[in-house]
């Protein structure tokens, strides 16, 4: 009887044993830092990361009154507004263009998708060369006279172009398969009704690909909100903070000045912002997303 009992006990434990490595790692590197950051955001923290004094919402008030942080939020929102929709629209256009399988499909499909496999640091170095003033190839070949990375009017746009180049391929891959899943019957009956190609795009392709578009939008919003690598390499947030993003602000707070106090509060604020966007997206999903 006792043997039977312990055998049953072990059997009941089995599913948890398989989960130990992932739960442990999520615990240490996701849940612990997440909740600990929330906790610490209410304290003054010294440069060793040790908690000193409880200040309530003081740190939040501090960062929200920090001009640099407000600039960082504005820049990040502008950056999101430029890059997220543009890469989806471009990806969608590429997908429509590549929709029908043709002789050279493999070549251009792979080319459209390729940037998704590129490292942001490599791409940053390449675009840095393209953007050089005045002898860079972009200024030279297109007869432009733009200080891409050193003029505060253009720097954020210059980085947005790199981000769009990097993220369009990902959107394209998903949208291509969504576009190809649109049923032929629907398209044929639309053709018989005399629908123009443009009408087909707006009344068939776009509505039927909204689930994919929605997925892309939600994942890109949260991801791009935390953009830092490109900016750190290309401009370091300059000139005049015109490319300072939320994440770069946080990074500079703790890496340059050892200021964990503001870094924690700013991190939580950034999380709430990205959560808000995700929630808004989900509200929109209820109204606008068309599931077959």
């Amino acid at each position: 009887m006792g043997l039977e009992m312990s055998k049953k006990f072990i059997n009941n434990l089995k599913p948890y044993i398989w989960l130990i490595p992932s739960l442990f790692l999520f615990g240490v590197f996701t849940f612990y830092p997440f909740f600990h950051t929330i906790y610490k955001s209410f304290f003054i923290v010294d440069s060793m990361g040790k908690v000193r004094e409880f200040v309530g919402f003081g740190n939040y008030l501090y960062v929200l009154n920090d001009k640099k942080f407000l600039i960082a939020i504005t820049n990040t929102l502008i950056f999101l507004a430029i890059t997220v929709p543009t890469s989806k629209v471009l990806g969608f256009c590429f997908a429509l263009l590549a929709n029908k399988k043709r002789k050279f499909s493999t070549f251009y499909e792979a080319s459209f998708a390729l940037p998704m496999a590129m490292a942001s640091s490599v791409v940053a170095m390449i675009f840095q060369l393209l953007y050089v003033y005045p002898l860079g190839i972009l200024n030279g070949r297109f007869h432009l006279d733009i200080r891409w990375l050193t003029d505060s009017k253009y720097a954020l746009i210059a980085i947005a172009i790199v981000q769009i180049w990097l993220s369009t391929g990902y959107a394209f891959v998903f949208l291509l398969s969504a576009v190809r899943n649109v049923s032929n019957d629907l398209l044929e009956s639309a053709s018989i009704d005399g629908a123009s190609p443009l009408k087909k795009i707006f009344s068939i392709y776009i509505p039927l690909t909204t689930p994919t578009l929605f997925y892309l939008l939600v994942s890109d919003l949260a991801y791009t909100m935390m953009i830092m690598g490109l900016v750190n390499i290309l401009t370091g947030g300059g000139p005049n903070n015109s490319t300072l993003t939320i994440m770069l602000y946080i990074y500079q707070q703790f890496a340059r000045t050892g200021n964990y106090t503001t870094a924690n509060a700013a991190s939580i604020f950034a999380f709430l912002l990205s959560l808000t966007f995700t929630l808004i997206a989900f509200v929109w999903e209820k109204k606008g997303v068309h599931y077959q």
Binding site: W18, L25, F26, T37, A119, A124, V132
Partner: protein
């Protein structure tokens, strides 16, 4: 679609077929242009880069940039570091994801729903947000400038768990029951039936994870400060500072850093994509 259109539109579509393809190829080359240009510059002598001629193709191709890149920085060491980090992380990611997916797909147990939601909720927390605290953790454990330190945050991915679980769910319980009747233990079922029959998805997850970790920049930058521990993505940005104009060796380094992902991409694009789709669309 063409058959219904009749003879006239068939003819039209032949012409438009060529036009569409030419346009698509033109766009494809435009997308590839920055990469092609970087490759081209990596073979240019310094005297041809950033001149008023705006050269697109090297007039006197040279390997000088590659020599400089290899001689002035431990480029091979960076590559080795990246390989170690990407391979180790991907290996554990896949193994741990397989374990977790097996548990979620094949057992019923108390708290299963809550644990699964907990795992999925980690997707909502952007990794960059946790770097401050994770850096504190890693430095407390004295893992700064170590491979374990660099790999630590890449060892698990909720996305991978989810994709593999979806795949496992298509294996009906009856198969496991049959295995049980044959006297196979859970362990044997896992290793001798589940793993071999799901090779494709395992490969996909491994490869996409490899590309993902290989391309990481922010975490490796923060958790290493000694040159010999840098990964290639961090290393190449150190080939020059923002103001200097020595681009030749940098492009050589960039091309070298690209090669592994390009190879992986060309070999397995279709598989990676279908793997990603299966996770995303079923969600």
């Amino acid at each position: 679609m063409g058959e219904k259109g009749g003879a006239l539109s068939m003819k039209e579509s032949k012409l438009s077929n060529i036009v569409v393809q030419l346009f698509a190829i033109f766009l494809a080359i435009a997308v590839l242009a920055p990469i092609l240009y970087a490759i081209s510059v990596s073979f240019m002598p310094a005297s041809e880069i950033l001149t008023k001629d705006y050269n697109l193709i090297p007039k006197n191709p040279t390997l000088e940039n590659y020599k400089i890149a290899f001689n002035t920085t431990p480029l091979l060491r960076y590559m080795l570091n990246s390989f170690i980090v990407a391979l180790t992380s991907s290996f554990f990611r896949v193994v741990f994801a397989l374990f977790a997916a097996f548990s979620f797909a094949m057992y019923d147990f108390k708290g299963k729903k809550i644990l699964f939601v907990l795992v999925l909720s980690t997707i909502m927390v952007p990794p960059n947000l946790l770097i401050v605290q994770n850096f504190v953790t890693v430095s407390k454990l004295h893992l700064v400038n170590t491979y374990i330190g660099v790999c630590s945050v890449f060892l698990i991915s909720a996305n991978n768990i989810f994709i593999i679980r979806q795949q496992f769910l298509t294996f009906t319980k009856s198969l496991q029951d049959a295995a049980k009747i044959d006297g196979a233990s859970d362990l044997r079922f896992f290793f001798s039936i589940l793993i071999p029959t799901n090779k494709a998805i395992i490969f996909t997850v491994f490869v996409s994870s490899f590309v993902n970790v290989w391309n990481q920049y922010v975490w490796p930058l923060i958790v290493t400060n000694r040159a010999e521990m840098r990964t290639i993505q961090v290393g190449i940005t150190m080939l020059k500072d923002r103001e200097s104009a020595l681009f030749g060796p940098v492009m050589a380094g960039a091309v070298i850093a690209l090669i592994p992902t390009l190879i992986v991409f060309i070999i397995s694009l279709k598989k990676i994509v279908s793997g990603m789709m299966s996770g995303a669309v079923k969600a």
